[in-house]
C-alpha cells in the first residue's frame, strides 16, 4: 500500500474489507471506550471541565506569541536551553546537532507524536544515530518497521499473535503470545539501554508558560527513564503544547488521563523544571527544549481552523470514530489519523494532497461529543469540504452533477418530474438497476408511483 493521504480512498477500500483488521481495531477501541466511560461517568463535573479546557486552550492559541515568549523565558530561568524551529527541517537539524555535540551515537526515546511528525527517527538513523524506541507500543512498531496507527496506542492494529510472530522472528525468542511474557522480554532488553545511553528524547504533553515546567504523562516509566538517567535530555514539542499556568496542570492531567486511558491519573507524571542544578539535585546535566512551529502560527490566525490546535492528543476521537474503527489508522496516510487527523492534515500540511479526508466522515459527531477540549471536529470537516470545493479541487463531473441538482431543486415541478422518471425507470428495468457507489453491496428502495407531493395536491383539491 502506498500510504499517502492522497491514496485514502483506495487504501480505505481495501482496509474496510479486511475483517481481521477491523475486528482488532474494534476490540482495542471498544476496550478503551468502556474504560473511559466508566471513569467519566463518575465525574459529575466532566462537562464543565471540558468547557474550562476549551477556554484555556483557546486563550493560548489566540495569544500564542505571548505565551511562547513567556514559556521560553521561564524555561530558560530554570536552566533549560530553548530552541525555536520554524520548519520541520530546522527542528531535526537542531536535535541532530545536540546529539553530535556530545558525541553520542544512540538515543533512548519515549513516545512523541511530534517526533513522528518530524520523521526524526529516519533522519537520525540515516545519519548514523541509533534510535531506541522505549514505549512498548513504539518498540513493537519500530521492530516491525511500521508507523503508529493510533496517537496513543501505536500498535493498536496488531494482535498478540502478530506481536508473538514478530518477536519470534526479530528477537529470536520462542513463540509466545502471552502479553506479560512479551512485555518482560522488552523490559529486560531495554534495561541496559536506559542505564547506558547518554541522550534521551521525549515529547511534551503540557508546557507551563509561568513556571517553564515540562510535563510528560505515561504509564510504563520509560519516559521517566529517558528523562532522568541520560546526561542530556531533549524535549521536543510544538508551540501549541503550552498552557498558561502550572495551576492549569491538574485540569489538563485529568482531561487527558481520562480521555486517553480511562484513568483518573496515569501511573506517572513527570514535571520537569530544568536540568541538574542547585535546586534540582539529580537528572540530566543538559535540558534542551526544541519548539516547533511547523505552520502552526499561521494556522492559529485562521478564525475557524485554529481550533484544531486546542487538541491535547488524547486519541479519544479516534477510538469513538466509526470510520476509524472500520479502517484503522494507516490509511489516513498522515501522522495524525482519525477525526483530528482529518481536520488537521489538510489545514496544517497539504489540502490538495489530503482533500479526501474531510469527506471521509458520515458527520455523525461522536468525535465532537467525546473531545475533552470540545473541538467542533465534525463541523470543521464540513467547513474544510467547502474549502476543497472553493479551491476547485473537485472533478468536472461532480461540478456538473451539482449544478444539475441545483437546477432541479429550485423548482418543485422538476423534482416531481425526476421522481416520476425514477419510478418509470425502475418499472421498466426492474429494481436492481446498478447505481455505482450504492448497489454493489446494498439494495435500492422501490420508488413510489405517486409522490407524497401529488397525494397532498390531490387531497387539497378534494378538500377544496
Amino acid at each position: 500500500m502506498n500510504l499517502r493521504a492522497s491514496q485514502f480512498k483506495a487504501n480505505a477500500r481495501i482496509a474496510a474489507q479486511d475483517t481481521g483488521l477491523r475486528s482488532k481495531v474494534k476490540k482495542a477501541t471498544g476496550t478503551a471506550l468502556t474504560k473511559r466511560k466508566q471513569t467519566v461517568d463518575e465525574l459529575p463535573e466532566w462537562e464543565s471541565l471540558r468547557q474550562q479546557g476549551h477556554d484555556i486552550r483557546k486563550e493560548v492559541v489566540d495569544n500564542i506569541d505571548r505565551y511562547l515568549r513567556s514559556f521560553t523565558d521561564a524555561a530558560r530561568l530554570n536552566g533549560a536551553i530553548v530552541h525555536h524551529a520554524n520548519e520541520h527541517n530546522d527542528a531535526t537539524k537542531i536535535i541532530y546537532d545536540i546529539i553530535r555535540r556530545v558525541s553520542a551515537n544512540s538515543v533512548v526515546k519515549s513516545k512523541s507524536m511530534i517526533t513522528e511528525e518530524l520523521h526524526l527517527n529516519r533522519m537520525l538513523e540515516e545519519n548514523g544515530i541509533r534510535v531506541i524506541e522505549t514505549d512498548l507500543g513504539e518498540y513493537i512498531i519500530q521492530l516491525a518497521g511500521e508507523t503508529p496507527s493510533h496517537i496513543t496506542a501505536p500498535a493498536l492494529h496488531k494482535s498478540k499473535e502478530d506481536i508473538a510472530r514478530l518477536f519470534q522472528e526479530k528477537l529470536n525468542i520462542s513463540y509466545t503470545d502471552d502479553p506479560a511474557v512479551l512485555t518482560a522480554v522488552v523490559r529486560k532488553r531495554l534495561r541496559d539501554e536506559f542505564l547506558n545511553t547518554r541522550v534521551g528524547i521525549s515529547g511534551v504533553n503540557f508546557a507551563c508558560a509561568d513556571t517553564g515546567t515540562i510535563t510528560i504523562i505515561e504509564n510504563e516509566a520509560n519516559a521517566r527513564l529517558c528523562t532522568v538517567l541520560p546526561e542530556v535530555h531533549i524535549a521536543v514539542m510544538s508551540i501549541e503544547k503550552i498552557i498558561p499556568s502550572f495551576d492549569d496542570l491538574s485540569l489538563f492531567l485529568k482531561l487527558l488521563s481520562c480521555s486517553a486511558s480511562g484513568q483518573r491519573m496515569t501511573s506517572y507524571v513527570s514535571m520537569i523544571n530544568g536540568p541538574r542544578s542547585s535546586h534540582n539535585p539529580d537528572g540530566p546535566r543538559q535540558l534542551h527544549v526544541v519548539i516547533l512551529d511547523g505552520g502552526r502560527r499561521q494556522l492559529a490566525k485562521h478564525p475557524a481552523w485554529k481550533e484544531a490546535l486546542y487538541c491535547i492528543r488524547c486519541g479519544a476521537c479516534l477510538n469513538v470514530c466509526p470510520v476509524y474503527q472500520s479502517v484503522g489508522g494507516h490509511v489516513y496516510g498522515s501522522v495524525y489519523p482519525g477525526p483530528i487527523g482529518s481536520v488537521l492534515t489538510p489545514t496544517l500540511f497539504d489540502m490538495k494532497e489530503a482533500q479526501d479526508l474531510p469527506f471521509a466522515s458520515s458527520l455523525c459527531g461522536a468525535c465532537t461529543d467525546i473531545c475533552p477540549v470540545k473541538i467542533d471536529l465534525h463541523h470543521h470537516l464540513l467547513w474544510e469540504r467547502r474549502e476543497v470545493v472553493d479551491r476547485g479541487y473537485k472533478s468536472f463531473t461532480e461540478k456538473i452533477a451539482m449544478a444539475v441538482w441545483r437546477w432541479m431543486m429550485l423548482s418543485a415541478g422538476r423534482v416531481e418530474f425526476a421522481g416520476r422518471l425514477g419510478w418509470l425507470i425502475q418499472k421498466v428495468f426492474g429494481k436492481n438497476i446498478p447505481a455505482p457507489g450504492w448497489t454493489p453491496r446494498r439494495r435500492f428502495p422501490a420508488l413510489a408511483r405517486r409522490s407524497f407531493r401529488s397525494i397532498m395536491k390531490r387531497e387539497k383539491n378534494n378538500d377544496g
Binding site: 458527520l363 470545493v389 431543486m409 429550485l410 397532498m456
Partner: protein, 218 residues
C-alpha cells in the same frame, strides 16, 4: 398528516417545496446549497410552524442555516424560520405536549438514533417516549445505540466500503437485539440499513416512526 390532524393541528403542504439544500452543503458546495436554502426560506417564510419528517433536514434548517451566508432580505427571515422548524417527534412531544397516543402494538421494536437527531438536535427521549406509550410494545435498546449506521448522505456513495462496514456493525447489533422492527426518525438511515439487510438476505423491517404510528391508527 392524519396523525397531526388527530392531535388537533391543521397541517398544510406547500407543493412548491423541494429540498433544504443539505446534499450540496455537505458536499462543500455552499453556493448551490445557499440558492436552494433561499428557495426553502422563500417558500416557508409565512408558515406558522414547520414540521419535518426528516431529522436531518430539520438539522440543516435549525443548525446550519444560521451559519450560512444567506443573502438579502432572506438573511433576516432565516432566524424566524429556524426557531419555528421542528423535527416531528420533538414537535409532538414538546410543542403539542402529547406523549401518549393511546395506540397498541405487539412486538419487539428497536429505535434507531440518527446522528443528526441525537447529536445536533439532541433529541433522544422524545421518540422513545412516543414509542413507549404504545401498549404492548417491547422497546429494545441496541447495544450500539449511539453508533452511526454509516449512511452519512454523500458519504455512503463516496466511500461505499466504509459506509457498508459501518452498516454491518449496526446490522449485527440489530440482529443481536432480536427485534421484529427498527423504527427511526430519518428515512435515509433506514433506507441504508434496509438496503444492506436486503442484499445480505437478513430479515429486517424498518419504518419511519410516523409511518409506524400512523399505521397503528388505521
Amino acid at each position: 398528516m392524519t396523525l397531526l390532524r388527530i392531535l388537533g393541528c391543521d397541517p398544510q403542504y406547500d407543493p412548491r417545496q423541494t429540498c433544504c439544500g443539505q446534499p450540496a452543503f455537505n458536499a462543500g458546495y455552499h453556493t448551490d446549497a445557499r440558492l436552494v436554502a433561499e428557495h426553502f426560506v422563500e417558500v416557508f417564510k409565512d408558515a406558522e410552524e414547520i414540521v419535518s419528517l426528516s431529522g436531518s433536514c430539520a438539522t440543516m434548517v435549525k443548525v446550519f442555516y444560521p451559519q450560512m451566508e444567506l443573502t438579502g432580505a432572506l438573511s433576516e427571515t432565516v432566524g424566524g424560520i429556524t426557531s419555528k422548524t421542528f423535527e416531528i417527534t420533538d414537535y409532538i412531544v414538546n410543542q403539542l405536549g402529547v406523549t401518549d397516543l393511546g395506540l397498541t402494538y405487539t412486538g419487539r421494536v428497536a429505535y434507531h438514533d440518527s446522528c443528526h437527531i441525537m447529536r445536533e438536535l439532541r433529541i433522544v427521549d422524545e421518540p422513545r417516549k412516543l414509542l413507549r406509550s404504545v401498549k404492548g410494545i417491547e422497546l429494545i435498546e441496541l447495544d450500539l445505540a449511539d453508533r452511526c449506521c454509516g449512511f452519512g448522505g454523500l458519504f455512503a456513495t463516496k466511500f461505499p466500503d466504509i459506509s457498508v462496514a459501518m452498516g454491518e456493525e449496526k446490522l449485527e447489533s440489530i440482529q443481536r437485539a432480536k427485534v421484529d422492527l427498527v423504527v427511526g426518525c430519518d428515512n435515509s438511515c433506514l433506507m441504508h440499513l434496509q438496503g444492506l439487510a436486503d442484499k445480505r438476505g437478513v430479515n429486517l423491517k424498518t419504518k419511519h416512526i410516523i409511518e409506524f404510528l400512523g399505521d397503528l391508527i388505521k
